[in-house]
């Protein structure tokens, strides 16, 4: 390890890094703007200047940019000396020449990296006497607010948006001191990662519109570690709350999962806890069909009334935590517990699980995925289904660039140089899908096939890797690319609904492992706890049909809208067989209308829960704030139900932490969930860990409109976190309990490096969740029959679902901004098929009783029809279904609601 001298002191440091990250790792305060730990160095802002000396005799030295200077043995630098400090101060003064003094009304204020760096460099007195230039801002859609006057031209936004995330509609425009970051025309930022600009921008150019409109400063936000409920990826989030409202969701760093970035579904898709209709009180349905609220005593009585001595059945939920599901499963008995998924989905997940467990290929984290040097995606439009995984793949295709760079001895952090060197040379990514995908722009090849043909192709690739001859050019090309790689990765999932496709993916990965490659195999999962449910029900799962025949008298439905999974007719049928329904949910779903008793659950920001991600990583979400009114966490309602049922095994449970150890005693894999986070008895320096930063203000006055007495602090009996600003906020507190990041002088999210041992590496107090599958054993599944090759049928079209980041999941469309982004569902046809039907773009098409607007799309396989999955108007449609299509008579294009906040701009 090289030794460098900083301000006269010698340090032994890691080789290969640059001076900036090295100094930061040494705990020094060296200001910077354009460098980003995930994006490397370009040397634009010139803020991280230090003086470097050639040798001990050199007394003059020269100013170098720390971010652009490699660590070398014996390097001598001066960080705090006058010359370097004066230079850095003048850089900030130059940046401030045009920066508005609007901090008091800026949504970045209080967590602004520019503020921090200005203070850090000591710039105070302004010498520039000229006028400031001003810009026109752009309308960038419902999620992001634009304020160009604040821009300091660090180029981070376009580097993230375009270079890192592959976005195309944000660019640096104009030149000299008129450089402008915007779109070529006003309009919605299209990238699914646009929201990351909020955190990437070191000042307030790009801000979160929902926060701007419902503003609270960072220091007034109460926050707790959480996990995104938007999909199965399990990104770590940091929701912030005040006055009982979710104000915003920020990224919570986890080096193995989401790193520094979230997708927009995750960032903006949580506002349903504020916006969507919520239930505040338990209620009973009266004879007239209306619900009447119950007080606590009445509720208790009702519960007992409903279930004491009755035969119970339960439907769990892949969007509820593992603990609540486990409780329900034990309460009703495994044989009458449905995981919350229909049978088809359940079987696909069991199959995925079995493949992951039995494959010699590694089930990769995102960090592993980024290291893949050849990738095959089978049947998934990852950007829509597991967006963060797609972002990881965008990094993996750059491994070829890093290989080229290594030949020239360029360090990986030399971002611009490596992009210039590699140009469009990428590691191979092959995508097999039913239509175009958002990763096509970086793909070496894409193959448009319906699901059955995807599975057939996968089987052929696997056979070819095993040495079977093939005359198919696609098969050979994919085989050759995968075999040429050291760390090939195969990704598939349940989106295509094909068991044979999962088998094919596993077969390819296994063949690659047999061929001596460090193969990786990953499957997406649809919801935040889908895999947890699969684990929970791997030995026993009651299908919806078997529930009908179970003889149960009471059905308990945990946080599940059955109408998204079953037709109304089938829900009715189930309703007729089971006389009493109890619904527990935070949202007012259609399913609750079928229930006799409705219990208001806490939302994801109000309850503790563990979710198992697609990687098999159990991660703990903590409540950000206590639930209001009579809302209670699902697991607490289930304990109340257990007491009402007189279930002696369950009534002894007291804490959240008791659930898994007590109930999963015989299951070592589920026991692993306990490793996801420290339990409620954990203390840091003997203290609980505060959710509120120490500058949290107005605590005694926040409720003064109701009562002038200082309200009692809520107590959190179930976790090591406190609803308070008191406690220990030590930098080495466990990552799973990192309720906010802040460090003296570093008020912005850039303070994160103070919590990392190595920049971009694991957090100091490690534990980024617990990988469960490594210890799991499961029997191998029998291979699914190989499907017939696709042949088009006259007058019928094979439906193939298309997923949308906004709109295909249950929750994101419940927030205003994402709902606007979701728009309405479309049907997709190949141009020839549209022509044969006499249809044009924008026409209405009727199928299965619904009418959808047509999009003509050359990527649609002829003879098949794509449809937007998961939209209210398409819930009845299933991938793989053959349907006739007809022209919708009297079709009127539905108006599009946009620009919900246009008036703010005018």
């Amino acid at each position: 390890m090289p030794v460098i001298r900083v301000d006269g002191q010698d340090y032994e440091v890691e080789a290969g890094g640059n001076l900036l990250e090295t100094c930061l790792e040494l705990g020094m305060d060296l200001p910077y703007f354009c460098w980003h730990p995930a994006m490397g160095s370009i040397g634009a802002c010139r803020q991280c200047a230090v003086v470097q000396y050639q040798n001990e005799e050199d007394t003059r030295g020269r100013i170098v940019m720390a971010c652009m200077t490699p660590v070398t043995e014996g390097a001598i630098i001066d960080l705090t000396g006058d010359r370097a400090a004066a230079f850095r101060r003048t850089v900030v003064e130059s940046l401030m020449v045009d920066h508005p003094h609007d901090c008091p009304v800026c949504a970045e204020g209080g967590e602004c990296h520019l503020q921090d760096m200005t203070v850090m460099t000591g710039h105070r007195d302004r010498h520039y006497r000229g006028t400031k230039k001003t810009y026109r801002n752009q309308y960038l859609g419902p999620l992001i607010h634009h304020e160009m006057n604040r821009c300091i031209t660090c180029y981070r936004c376009t580097r993230f948006y375009r270079d890192y995330a592959g976005g195309t509609d944000l660019a640096a425009l104009a030149a000299h001191d008129h450089v402008y970051f915007g779109r070529h025309r006003e309009g919605t930022l299209e990238s699914p990662f646009a929201g990351d600009l909020v955190e990437v921008c070191p000042t307030g150019v790009f801000t979160d519109k929902s926060l701007v409109h419902d503003y609270t400063r960072k220091w007034d936000l109460q926050s707790a570690p959480s996990v995104c409920t938007g999909c199965g990826v399990g990104c770590n989030t940091l929701p912030g709350e005040r006055y009982g409202r979710l104000k915003r969701i920020h990224n919570r760093y986890n080096d193995e999962v989401n790193g520094y970035f979230l997708c927009d579904r995750g960032r903006f898709g949580g506002n349903h806890v504020n916006d969507a209709p919520r239930i505040d009180y338990p209620a009973r349905r009266e004879a007239d069909g209306r619900f009447r609220a119950l007080d606590q005593a009445a509720c208790q009585a009702q519960l007992a009334d409903c279930i004491a001595g009755k035969r119970l059945a339960g439907i769990g939920s892949p969007r509820a935590g593992l603990e609540a599901n486990l409780l329900l499963q034990r309460l009703v008995g495994a044989e009458r517990f449905n995981s919350g998924m229909d049978d088809g989905e359940h079987k696909l997940l069991q199959r995925s699980l079995s493949h992951l467990v039995n494959s010699a290929a590694r089930n990769p984290s995102h960090r592993d995925i980024e290291s893949a040097d050849a990738v095959l995606v089978l049947g998934e439009d990852l950007t829509q289904v597991a967006a963060r995984t797609a972002l990881a793949l965008r990094q993996s295709v750059r491994n070829e660039a890093y290989r080229l760079a290594a030949e020239l001895k360029l360090a990986p952090w030399q971002d611009a140089a490596i992009r210039n060197l590699a140009q469009d040379r990428r590691s191979p990514l092959h995508i097999v899908s039913a239509g175009s995908t958002d990763l096509d722009d970086v793909a070496a090849g894409h193959y448009r096939l319906v699901a059955d043909d995807q599975a057939r192709l996968a089987a052929q690739i696997a056979a070819a890797i095993d040495g079977e001859p093939s005359g198919d050019a696609a098969v050979l090309r994919i085989r050759d690319d995968l075999l040429a790689a050291q760390r090939p990765l195969v990704i598939s999932g349940a989106s295509a609904g094909s068991a044979a496709l999962l088998d094919g993916a596993a077969a390819i990965a296994n063949a690659l492992a047999r061929a001596g490659r460090e193969a990786m195999l990953s499957f997406t999962t649809p919801e935040c706890n889908s895999l947890g449910q699969a684990l929970l029900c791997r030995d026993s799962h009651a299908s919806f049909e078997s529930l009908e025949a179970s003889g149960a008298e009471v059905l308990i439905i945990l946080e599940n809208d059955l109408l998204r999974r079953l037709s109304p007719e089938r829900v009715e049928a189930l309703r007729e067989r089971i006389p009493i329904w109890i619904g527990i949910d935070s949202l007012e779903t259609g399913t609750l209308a079928y229930c006799d008793l409705v219990l208001p659950a806490a939302a994801f920001t109000e309850t503790e829960a563990s979710f198992v991600s697609q990687e098999g990583r159990a991660q703990r979400a903590f409540p950000v704030h206590p639930p209001a009114e009579a809302r209670r966490p699902g697991w607490q309602w289930l304990l109340a139900l257990a007491r009402a049922a007189g279930n002696t095994a369950l009534v002894a449970l007291e804490h959240f932490d008791d659930i898994v150890p007590t109930l999963a005693g015989e299951d070592p894999v589920l026991q692993g969930v306990m490793r996801a986070a420290p339990d409620h008895q954990f203390r840091s320096r003997g203290l609980k860990i505060p959710r509120q930063p120490h500058r949290y203000s107005g605590r005694t006055a926040m409720a003064a409109d109701v009562s002038v007495h200082e309200p009692r602090l809520s107590e959190d009996r179930d976790s090591a976190l406190a609803y308070s600003m008191e406690g220990s906020a030590a930098a080495d507190r466990p990552a799973a309990l990192l309720s906010y990041v802040w460090s003296p002088g570093w008020n912005s999210n850039q303070s994160l490096h103070k919590f990392q041992a190595d920049i971009g590496g694991a957090l100091r107090g490690d534990s980024g969740g617990a990988r469960l599958l490594d210890e799991l054993t499961m029997p191998a599944v029998a291979e699914a029959p190989r499907p017939e090759a696709f042949r088009r049928r006259d007058g019928q079209w094979l439906l193939q679902g298309r997923h949308h980041l906004f709109g295909s999941d249950e929750l994101s469309r419940l927030s205003a901004g994402p709902a606007e982004r979701a728009g309405r569902a479309h049907l997709y046809l190949h141009p020839n098929d549209a022509q044969s039907l006499g249809l044009a773009e924008g026409d209405g098409v009727t199928l299965e009783g619904c009418a959808l607007e047509l999009r003509i799309d050359a990527s649609q396989v002829p003879g098949s029809a794509g449809y937007a999955v998961g939209y209210p108007e398409t819930l009845a449609l299933r991938s793989g279904q053959w349907v006739p299509l007809s022209v919708a008579s009297d079709w009127q294009r539905p108006p599009q609601v946009i620009g919900s906040d246009r008036e703010a701009a005018s």
Binding site: R46, V91, G130, D177, Q414, R425
Partner: protein, 429 residues
């Protein structure tokens, strides 16, 4: 008078030399010699031995630059030679002469340079406003192609080269070689950090050499006549001839090829005819708008890289801009700083935001709104912006050169503006 190879085909009326005339005067002799029997390594040795230094301003030894291009174990793909004909340095008008009067000389030089480094594609990056030159070059390339000086299997040597003209869309920064490469790739002309140097990762990530017009025009003569001949052309330590120019209030502004190392006084008085009547010399920028002022005491210095460098300036492009006694030095510097601020690519902070700030201070002083502490700000800017390495490329440090030397030689003028709250040259001018 010694030989003047670069301008031997330049006529008084500046009419272009066509292929026939060029050949008649021995043109393409260097190429024929190389194709008949010189290996690329031989050519490289000749150019190295000649002592030719880049004529674009920086004066880097040309042969050494070429020697950094990898010749063995190169991954398959193109190598590129680029001629930098983006002449936009204020006060510089030398390359235009060579482009408009003798395009084949440049083309021959480029073919030889490309051959030496193993490039198979060559570009001439020419500034947008040089319309006539661009047209002449396109015609000349077609002529050369017809005679198999370009294209496949040049003169039966087995060597292939295609050549294209790219006309810029106008940006001074394109003259910086890495910015030029960005621009040639069809992108915003932001300069690139070095390393990696273009010689290993340049145009489209491939090995690339960028040379100035005048540099390349020397090559045919060096290859044909040899390094000793070329070294014999110079007067002092440097080899060859140089295009020198003078603009400003002199009797006979113009551009002349002279032995490199010709004394400043000789250029100024013998060639440019001395100052216009009624004007006195106060100082001069020896080599374009981004070189430090020199003054009277420097008139007897030789115009070569080392001598001018020792005097505290740079020979730069060799085209002098004369500051006379009736022109305001503050206004002079302000004009230059405004140019550089306007032409900043906007990439790095000191240049993008520092130069406009500096221009605003100079404007205040020039308009009589200056304050004494503005002098400190200007000095501070010189150290903040003026050192290579403080900024992403050399544009802003270059911009500071006239200012820093003006603060040294014409400090009283700045102070008079501040004290008198007006420009003392205003009535005179």
């Amino acid at each position: 008078m010694s030989e003047l190879p670069l301008t031997r085909n330049v006529r008084a009326d500046r009419s272009p030399t066509d292929l026939a005339a060029y050949e008649a005067n021995g043109g393409y002799g260097g190429l024929r010699r190389a194709m008949a029997g010189l290996a690329p390594g031989d050519c490289l040795d000749i150019v190295k031995d000649s002592g030719l230094r880049g004529r674009g301003g920086a004066g880097f030894p040309t042969g050494m630059k070429w020697s950094f291009v990898p010749m063995e174990n190169v991954s398959p793909g193109h190598k590129y030679l680029i001629c930098n004909a983006d002449e936009m340095e204020p006060g510089t008008f030398k390359d235009r002469l060579l482009l408009e009067c003798d395009p084949h000389q440049l083309i021959e030089g480029m073919i030889l340079a490309a051959y030496t480094i193993g490039a198979d594609v060559a570009y001439i990056f020419i500034r947008a406003e040089y319309l006539k030159a661009a047209q002449l070059l396109r015609e000349a390339i077609a002529e050369a192609k017809a005679k198999n000086y370009l294209g496949r299997d040049i003169l039966g040597s087995g060597y292939h080269l295609e050549m294209h003209v790219h006309a810029s869309a106008g940006r001074y920064i394109c003259g910086e070689e890495t910015a030029l490469i960005s621009s040639l790739e069809g992108k915003r002309a932001n300069p690139r950090a070095k390393p990696p140097f273009p010689q290993v990762s340049g145009l489209w990530g491939r090995p690339t050499i960028v040379n100035n017009v005048e540099t390349l025009c020397n090559i045919p003569h060096i290859i044909e006549r040899g390094p000793e001949w070329f070294q014999g052309l110079g007067l002092g330590g440097d080899a060859g001839t140089k295009l020198y120019g003078v603009s400003g209030r002199v009797k006979n502004p113009g551009c002349w090829e002279l032995p490199i190392g010709t004394p400043v006084r000789e250029i100024l008085e013998d060639r440019a005819g001395g100052m216009e009547d009624g004007y006195q010399l106060r100082g001069f920028l020896p080599g374009g708008g981004s070189t430090d002022f020199l003054v009277d005491e420097h008139l007897d210095l030789a115009m070569d890289y080392e001598t001018i460098g020792k005097a505290g300036s740079r020979m730069g492009t060799g085209t002098m801009i004369i500051l006379d006694d009736r022109t305001c030095p503050v206004g002079f510097v302000k004009n230059l700083i405004e140019f550089f601020a306007q032409e900043s690519c906007g990439f790095c902070t000191p240049c993008r935001d520092g130069l406009p700030w500096n221009a605003q201070v100079l404007d205040d002083i020039e308009q009589g709104r200056g304050q004494l502490e503005d002098m400190d700000t200007l000095e501070q800017h010189v150290s903040y912006i003026g050192a290579i390495g403080n900024t992403h490329c050399a544009l802003a440090p270059g911009a500071m050169e006239p200012l820093q030397s003006a603060l040294k030689y014409f400090r009283d003028d700045f102070l008079r503006h501040i004290e008198e709250r007006t420009c003392p040259y205003r009535e005179v001018h």
